[in-house]
Amino acid sequence: MTITEASQVGDEVKGESPSTISGATGSQRVAVRLRKPYETDVEQRFRLTDPSKGLELSKNKHVRRVLKNRKFQFFLILPNQIVFWGVIFLGILGTVNPDLNFATAITWFLWFALVFVMMVVVGRAWCVMCPFGGFAEWIQRKSFWNRTQKALGLGRKFPESIAKYGLITSVGTFLLLTWLEEFFNIAGPGNPEATSIMVIGIVISAVTFFMVFERRTFCRYVCPLSALIGSVGAAGTAAGFRTKDRDKCLNCKTKECMRGGDEGFGCPWYTWPGSADSNLTCGLCSECYKACPSDNVGFFIQKPLTSMIAPLRRRADVAWSVLLLWGLVVFQQFNAVSLYGTIDNWLNTKMHFPQYPNPVDYIGIIFLVTLIMAGIAWVGSKAMKKDAVQLDLSGSPVNFAGAKASSKTIKHSFVDKKSQFRSFMLPLSYGLIPVVGADYFARQLPKFFLNVLKLVPDVGAWFGIGGGTNAKLFNAEILSGNQIVAVQVGVIIVGMLASLYAMRKIIKRDIVPFATSPFATKLVAYGTVLACGVGASWLYVMMHAAT
């Protein structure tokens, strides 16, 4: 039972008598005179990013019932929770043979590949079922599924000095984790105990962050996979939870989707369905859907690539994340080439560093690749207009980073500030997402194709059946090495084609209308996509040759 008030909206009522409502007391109880929300450009602002009404899956009665159910996310998390606690225990207690140990087999042969499929096809699908954030969130909420009103922990805000860089922190933790994984040889050929310790480390980190900071600060800013899933997930078909009627959202006076309502928590990801223009920060948890008292939130799907092509707001943290992630995947390919071994050994000797990978060449190569990409963007930006690009929301052409900053707030925002360099670099980076995503996916394929069948005898071994290392499936491969390289190159080509398609759309709207030399910008943009695709393919061939 809540209490009543009536309110008026808009400046025009200031100073007027409060209106009455037909309540029991015949008059309003609390005279609220909220300003009218800004709605001038709202339709144009979201015209390109709002999913079509017909793509609302929650219109379906059964989908609606599932999403309304408070146990929805619990049952998605639960199987993964069981699997990863299995990883923790079996990694420590099980066999040291990484091919036979369930911990290494499930984590590196199957899970990582599946995560990439999910992010490319859906978006943040892994986030909704993630057992790490999920486990920590159960503790924070003191409940597996119930809507509780008081959270456990300190509920602090993540320091703004870090959080203002958005996804960049997540890229940092991904680089750190990847280096640790390479250094300790956790993933390939694999180390069950180290895999287990790594998972424990992630769980402890998650729980610590959930206990210190509010909501899913860990997932949004710190999780090593957040930047990767967030940026590559822009290719995904899940638009996420969005408003059905934006006017209703703008005039909502309570914002239960953000603050939490009777039936749902406030968005753990700091996302408002009323303004979401991509699937970047929608964790698909459905809390806003449950919390909205007006049933004004729906679950929408979208055409693939929409969240990278359509958004008017191009975020610098996403753009830099894409370039840094590209640097990392290039490093991971390059490290299989003999030239890298020479460089790494030389550096280790000079620095008295024990083993691969030397942190200097690790970071150096990643940053070098990132800087080369940024340099290409800088060259491209020279063909862009120097003057601030006038924003015209009513028409199609828009260049977010080239538009004049509307205030010092924008000027000082890492995510949103404007410059000639950014006017080209941001759209370029968004266009590169498919080829970067494809490269990450292609890199997981050898482990999958060569080893995934081992999972069957691995599980059978628990029950003393299946033959263990002598089993046929243990020694079976889905594809041979040559075939895998072909598939990898094929994946890269698909990613490259998707990038070219996305880049064409992005160039048309975000670059060409604002370029002094459209040809030059096109040349740089398409050339970069092709170079990345060809380079990645060549590296796969070289990797195979090296092994």
């Binding site: 039972m1 029991a24 709202v42 703004e160 203002k164 914002k255 953000m258 408002w272 890492f414």
Partner: protein
């Protein structure tokens, strides 16, 4: 719309700091919660990034935006730019001996009032207004003062308050409107709302009652003539009702007449409301105490009854010697003490106190709250030496520091963490008080007596002023009242959105959580709209135990407005239900999961809606107490939980909602459920639960749904017609 003339330094001298509104654009979702609430329009939208952008030069640092941002995406770095608050001036008499002059002085001039009014931000979502139990439209009346229109200001006040002259003097604004002011929540001195309210009532012309005829023909009895009774009588009489008020004392006004001394609330102010009510034709019957046994008679003779008898029975400390002569209660002392001050007679001449021959008695007052301070200060005016003791630690005691300071300046000795252990006397009259020290470590814990810490004190008189309770006789008629005010289990989202909970314990509010206490008051206030029994409303202290004048007034006002809305009638006798006239306002409260139960509710709405019958369909989580109070017929529809025939019952949310339902006071109620296989005894159990809440169950129906989503609606016409008593030709409705 700027509201402060210039940005000048605050009392803490932080003028030179630069104002910097920092929007955390990564996290700002462009929801505009800050934009629509910023008092100075310093926040705008950047349409491309769809985030908020700020204009520092317009910001005054009130931090309303910080308090209202759902994602903590905004931070104000800089000073709180507000002028110094006007000071409360005090009258300092040469001697307090027999001095009844009002001590707290009003604002001296219109210029000063305007200057103070300029401090008000005119917040779009004013938290002060939520802090005020009566929800006076504070920004509007302050705006009128600023614009120099006192009549308009008075008119704004009169919409919600019938006692602005009283409330402005006796309210503890620090924990109400002023404590909830934006400036207070930002850690600074709030607008002097109480002083401005008083300025308006003292300087604007007397406003005649705005007459209407919505209650013509209604005959209403009110028990008690205190603030709740005054507010109820005023609302009713101005709408043409015939009102009879029963007062057990010889003079009307209750607590505001006898309980608050003249130096706080002058007699001419306290009696003003009743002078007006008598002129308006209210039938006042003084010296008429209504006992529990007579309540049914009143219900038989009047269309509605409001019990506003207050909590007038003094609480006595059960100590040895408590029945000695020379031990009196606060009411006795205050009534006779005030009279002695007015007459110029000495304390020894007050017969009931038995101090004959004692020229300068020493009085021990038990308690340090409002009443105890009034007693102590009255005693000082009669020449007594006074010590007040309170068993609580001062940190946790619900006392007003301004009152304590005033009392101390008048020579009252106040000791906390002390309690009376026993009294001994000579010849049957009290002479010595044994006092022990206490310890208390938290507000939730009761103080404990320290062993071996007792001391004796010679006393001539002991006044027990620890508080009051509702008379146990009349309490039998109150159907469970008084209830205890408590924080809401689920905090109202609109109150959260206003930011009143964000900085909950401002220094100005003495570190009290203004949001929680305001909302607790509000929940109790809304209960006053709902009858405790058919045609019987309970308001004020009788409803919630000893509270404040303004809460009592708000209760009386709201109960009267509910009566005017529903126009109950005695014609059917006292036990036929609240609404003897035909059903006119139907509330269909629905808990629907897949939408079927809601659609049935809408189908019922179609059948019973007419020009005479207004029907609302609402989901359970949107239903307010005011909605319940609005309805003269409640229909509750819910789906049935369970797996085939196992664990069949009400869904969790419906059960939780039923628990929050207030007593329904005989509200006619119908129920329906939707089920797939077998509803078992859900309908019967639901009916029992509602009857337990005081509902009168009129109709019940169970609608069977199929897996395909179709519903058997064969019983819907009978169900609908039983509610209004009219058969309507209804189209076949199928839901899917």
């Amino acid at each position: 719309m700027t509201l402060i003339s210039e940005k000048t330094k605050s009392s803490e001298g932080d003028q030179m700091e630069k104002m910097d509104i920092h929007i955390f654009s990564d996290r700002c979702a462009g929801c505009q919660e800050c934009v629509v609430r910023c008092p100075t329009n310093a926040l705008k939208m950047d349409s491309l990034s769809w985030t908020v952008v700020a204009e520092d030069e317009l910001c005054v640092g009130c931090r309303q935006c910080e308090r209202t941002c759902p994602f903590t995406a905004i931070k104000i770095n800089g000073p709180v730019m507000v002028d110094v608050r006007i000071k409360q001036e005090h009258f300092k008499p040469m001697s307090i001996d027999h001095n009844a002059d009002e001590l707290r002085l009003p604002i001296k001039s219109f210029e000063d009032a305007k200057k103070e009014a300029m401090r008000c931000l005119d917040c779009p979502d004013p938290t002060c207004l939520r802090g005020c139990p009566a929800h006076n439209d504070i920004p509007s009346f302050i705006r009128a003062v600023r614009e120099g229109n006192l009549q308009e200001a008075h008119s704004v006040l009169s919409r919600t308050s019938v006692l602005p002259d009283v409330c402005s003097r006796v309210c503890d604004q620090a924990t109400q409107c002023e404590g909830s002011c934006s400036w207070s929540l930002a850690g600074k001195q709030p607008v002097a709302i109480g002083l401005l309210e008083r300025f308006i009532t003292e300087n604007a012309d007397f406003l005649p009652l705005e007459k209407g005829n919505k209650a013509t023909g209604l005959e209403v009895a009110i028990i008690g003539s205190g603030p709740a009774g005054i507010a109820a009588a005023t609302e009713l009489v101005k709408q043409g009702a015939k009102v009879t008020v029963f007062e057990k004392d010889s003079t009307p006004g209750g607590l505001i007449t006898w309980g608050i001394p003249d130096f706080t609330l002058p007699h001419e102010v306290a009696k003003r409301p009743w002078d007006r009510l008598i002129n308006e034709g209210v039938n006042l019957k003084v010296n008429t105490e209504i006992k529990e046994a007579e309540v049914n008679d009143l219900l038989g003779n009047y269309d509605a009854l409001i019990i506003a008898c207050g909590a007038s029975q003094p609480i006595k400390l059960p100590v040895e010697g408590g029945d000695l002569k020379g031990v009196v209660d606060a009411t006795t002392f205050l009534k006779n003490g005030q009279e002695a001050i007015n007459n110029g007679s000495s304390i020894s001449e007050i017969e009931v106190l038995g101090l004959k021959g004692v020229s300068s008695p020493h009085i021990l007052v038990l308690g340090a709250g409002n009443t105890a301070m009034d007693v102590a200060r009255t005693a000082r005016r009669l020449g007594a030496s006074v010590r007040a003791i309170d068993w609580m630690d001062q940190k946790f005691a619900p006392v007003r520091p301004d009152e304590l300071a005033e009392a101390k300046s008048e020579g009252v000795e106040i000791t906390f963490s002390s309690t009376l252990v026993s009294l001994t006397g000579n010849n049957g009259r009290v002479s010595t008080a044994k006092i022990a020290k206490t310890t208390q470590t938290s507000a939730k814990e009761l103080p404990k007596v320290q062993s071996g810490s007792t001391s004796d004190e010679k006393v001539d008189l002991v006044v027990m002023a620890m508080g009051y309770r509702v008379d146990p006789d009349i309490q039998k008629a109150l159907n469970g009242a008084p209830i205890r005010k408590k924080p809401a289990e689920k905090v109202d989202r609109r109150w959260i959105a206003s930011g009143i909970f964000a900085n909950p314990a401002p220094e100005f509010a003495r570190g009290q959580n203004v949001g929680v206490i305001s909302l607790s008051r509000e929940i109790a206030n809304q209960l006053s709209m709902i009858p405790r029994r058919p045609r019987m409303w309970v308001v004020g202290d009788a409803l919630i135990g000893p509270a404040t004048v303004v809460e009592a007034m708000a209760h009386g006002r709201d109960a009267a407005r509910a009566i005017i809305t529903h126009k109950p009638s005695k014609s059917g006798g006292s036990e036929v239900g609240l609404y003897a006239t035909k059903t006119a306002k139907v509330l269909i409260a629905v808990e629907s999961r897949g939408g079927t139960t809601l659609k049935i509710g809408e189908a019922i709405q179609k059948r019973i809606s007419s020009s005479d019958v207004e029907v609302r369909v609402q989901k359970l989580n949107t239903i307010t107490m005011e909605d319940i109070a609005w309805a003269d017929h409640l229909i509750l529809g819910t789906w049935v939980e369970g797996f085939v025939v196992a664990k069949v019952g009400l869904p969790k949310f419906t059960k939780a909602w039923l628990k929050t339902l207030p007593p329904l006071g005989g509200l006619p109620t119908s129920i329906y459920v939707t089920y797939s296989f077998n509803p078992k005894d859900v309908l019967g159990n639901l009916a029992k639960e509602l009857e337990g809440k005081g509902a009168k169950i009129q109709s019940k129906e169970a609608f069977k749904t199929t897996l395909g989503g179709t519903v058997d609606l064969s019983g819907i016409d009978n169900f609908a017609s039983s509610i209004t008593g009219q058969k309507k030709g209804a189209a076949k409705v199928t839901t899917r």
